[in-house]
């Protein structure tokens, strides 16, 4: 875990290892849920059961889990086109999410959104976003709303290495910094933006190095180490919560699957992907927990089985749910509907 310069002053990274055992196991469980949900979704998509297209976060589960479990339920997150993990980690029920991927009326978005617009406002998950970089200003707004209501909620904005080059991220970063808003800009640098290697699009090595330009702490963390991510987010969320202002956290991770399911991935060598298997965030946390005596094989298998059953139930629920009726397309546009479309 590296730390970058903060406007001259050094951001001190307090390294504490006090993540309690329950939380450590929760992190593992959430990561397993994400992995299982997405592997299932991938298979279902390839089998032609899911319409639309799908972006998987397999390999990046430590980011979603580590970050979201460091937040409160009433904290906000904004997400990206790759949002299943964020949504699950914020404790959204898997059934409604799966039903959404199935385009069913029981889906989180009643079948109107699909994978790319997965959202669960009841847990503060303000939505995946089909516009890269679209979530940054939404998070700033969430933080403004919290301040206005005088709550101590924070807003965490997930974004990618590719999104870092959008102007929205710049404007949001500057604004959050000027107003010392409780925003955590959390960049999942998974080394690619679609077909483009981060290095070919980012003018610097580390996204976190841009933090100094906003007078914001910039932190780099191993994005495949759930405990490390968790510690960093917990610390900076507390900092933001107590009025310390925003932070930019860059999690170095890797996208193990294609940009979307079906991506021929001509832009990278299979070797490169294979080499990353050694960094698998789930295996890694499991090993750590085992080493600490918190997990044995039996328990891991039990966990896997529980998660598999949850996701299988979600698939059953989704499959058995009805499709929306065509006229439902006209609902949900306005709170106060307009009788005649003008």
């Amino acid at each position: 875990m590296a730390v970058t310069d903060v406007g001259g002053a050094r951001a001190v990274q307090r390294v504490d290892n006090d993540i309690d055992a329950d939380t450590q196991l929760d992190l593992l469980r959430v990561m397993l849920r994400i992995r299982c949900f997405e592997e299932r979704a991938e298979a279902l998509f390839l089998a032609g059961e899911l319409p639309g297209f799908i972006h998987l976060s397999i390999g990046q589960e430590a980011c979603a889990a580590g970050a979201c479990l460091a937040l409160r339920r009433d904290d906000y997150i904004t997400s990206t086109h790759r949002g299943h993990g964020h949504c699950l980690a914020k404790c959204a029920p898997a059934e409604r999410m799966m039903a959404e991927l199935f385009a069913k009326a029981t889906g989180s978005c009643k079948g109107k959104g699909g994978s790319m617009h997965i959202a669960d406002f009841s847990v503060g998950m303000l939505g995946a976003n089909g516009i890269v970089g679209g979530g940054a200003n939404l998070a700033v707004g969430a933080a403004i709303a919290a301040r206005l209501r005088q709550t101590d909620q924070v807003a965490l904005c997930f974004f990618g290495d590719g999104a870092a080059n959008r102007g929205t991220v710049h404007e949001a970063s500057n604004l959050a910094a000027v107003w010392k808003l409780p925003v955590i800009f959390f960049c999942e640098n998974n080394r690619y933006a679609s077909t483009t290697a981060a290095g070919a699009a980012l003018s610097i090595e580390n996204v976190a190095d841009r933090a100094a330009g906003y007078g914001m702490p910039g932190v780099i963390v191993d994005g495949n180490d759930a405990l490390a991510v968790h510690r960093v987010v917990r610390e900076w969320a507390a900092h933001a919560r107590s009025g310390g202002g925003p932070v930019l956290i860059e999690a170095k991770t890797y996208r193990m699957r294609g940009h979307y399911v079906g991506d021929p991935q001509l832009y990278r060598a299979t070797d490169e992907v294979e080499a990353q298997r050694a960094r698998d965030p789930i295996d890694r946390l499991a090993a750590t927990l085992a080493g600490a005596g918190l997990l044995d094989l039996a328990r891991l298998e039990r966990l896997r089985a529980e998660v598999a059953e949850e996701i299988e139930a979600a698939v059953r629920f989704a499959r058995e749910s009805p499709l929306p009726s065509p006229e439902d397309a006209l609902a949900d546009l306005y709170v106060n509907p307009i009788e005649r479309m003008p």
Binding site: Y76, T78, G107, S108, C109, K110, G111, K112, G113, H117, A119, D120, F121, S122, L126, G127, N129, G130, I131, G134, A136, N137, L138, A139, V140, G141, A142, A143, I144, A145, A146, R147, L148, R149, A155, G167, T168, E171, A172, N174, L175, V178, W179, A331, D332, L333, Y334, V335, N336, I338, E339, R340, M341, P342
Partner: protein, 323 residues
């Protein structure tokens, strides 16, 4: 009834709504010391403090995007776009976020925000500071559009817009800010979707909104002198649209001119003309004519600007072509 300017009327609306609801707040550029670029927010920072009147950097995507985010979390932002032209710098935040959030998330959330947009041409402000671009948003389902023509409506519609749970785009013509009119001291709202008949006649229907209503009224007076009596329908809001008001008048007059300051091609007038043509075909005795700016950017030089912008004479001429 007290008289006040359009600006004062919007200020009264802001003050009343901000007192009523602590979740209403203002976000935009040049709020604190100038009270907005046209003084339309003057005094709000003093009364409500910097916590509710947020003075932003020049970051349009943040102004609109943060308003959307805050609205999604239950606050009620009134964001200001400085000049309506700059909406192009935050177009995504309006059309892909504000307009779609509720729908694409299946009704889980709402976006109770108002975006105020001073628009229209005044004083040779030239191509990038003179536009009327409401038509872009008429073609964007998910937002509502309001365009008052006088101080009374300015106040009443702004209050409705702030109370509405959907995103409302509030178009206020820059040349209206200093106009005066009667505005009740007591509390009232003007509901969106109710047009007003500003001039009554049975020969022709003139449909308009915003500043152009004033130009149409001048035309109506001029026409009346020649014995041509016009209904002047002030739409007040474009979505919701008061179709009944239009239809009732057209069924009476059988002749229509639709007028707006925005350039003619692809403007709101096209939509209204098309709807009238579609639904009131048998009631029409003549083609529906449109009056709008010529299809060029607004030029700087006064003779050019005058030539491009539509005025009372253009409305009157269109009416005469129908007679």
């Amino acid at each position: 009834m007290p008289e006040m300017t359009f600006t004062e009327a919007t200020l009264a609306a802001m003050r009343e709504e901000m007192r009523r609801d602590p979740l209403v707040f203002v976000i935009g550029e040049d709020m604190a010391s100038q009270g907005g670029v046209f003084g339309q927010f003057k005094g709000l920072a003093e009364e409500f403090g910097a916590g509710r009147v947020l003075d932003t950097p020049i970051s349009e995507t943040s102004i609109v995007g943060a308003a959307v985010g805050a609205a999604l979390c239950g606050a009620r932002p009134v964001a200001d776009m400085h000049f309506a032209d700059f909406v192009a710098c935050a177009m995504d935040e309006i059309v892909n976020q504000a307009a779609k959030a509720r729908y694409m998330f299946g009704g889980q959330c709402s976006v109770p925000m108002v975006l105020r947009m001073p628009d229209g041409a005044i004083n040779s402000a030239a191509a990038q500071h003179s536009q009327s671009v409401e038509a872009w948003m008429l073609h964007t389902p998910g937002v509502k559009l309001v365009a008052p023509s006088n101080p009374y409506d300015a106040k009443g519609l702004l209050k409705s817009a702030i109370r509405d749970d959907d995103p409302v785009l509030y178009y206020e013509h820059k040349a209206l800010f200093k106009t005066r009119g009667e505005v009740p001291g007591e509390e009232y709202v003007v509901p969106m979707g109710q047009a007003a008949l500003r001039h009554v006649g049975s020969d022709v229907t003139i449909v308009s909104y915003s500043l152009m209503v004033q130009r149409c009224l001048e035309a109506a007076d001029e026409l009346a002198a020649d014995g041509i009596e016009a209904d002047v329908v002030d739409l007040r809001s474009l979505r919701p649209l008061d179709w009944e008001a239009i239809a009732t008048s057209v069924r009476k007059t059988h002749r229509v001119v639709v007028a707006h300051e925005a350039c003619r091609t692809g403007g709101v007038g096209a939509e209204i003309a098309a709807q009238i043509g579609e639904e009131l075909f048998d009631d029409l005795d003549a083609p529906v004519l449109r009056v709008g700016a010529r299809d060029v950017p607004i030029p700087f030089s006064p003779p050019l600007e005058r030539f491009v912008l539509p005025g009372p004479a253009d409305v009157a001429a269109a009416v005469r072509r129908l007679m």
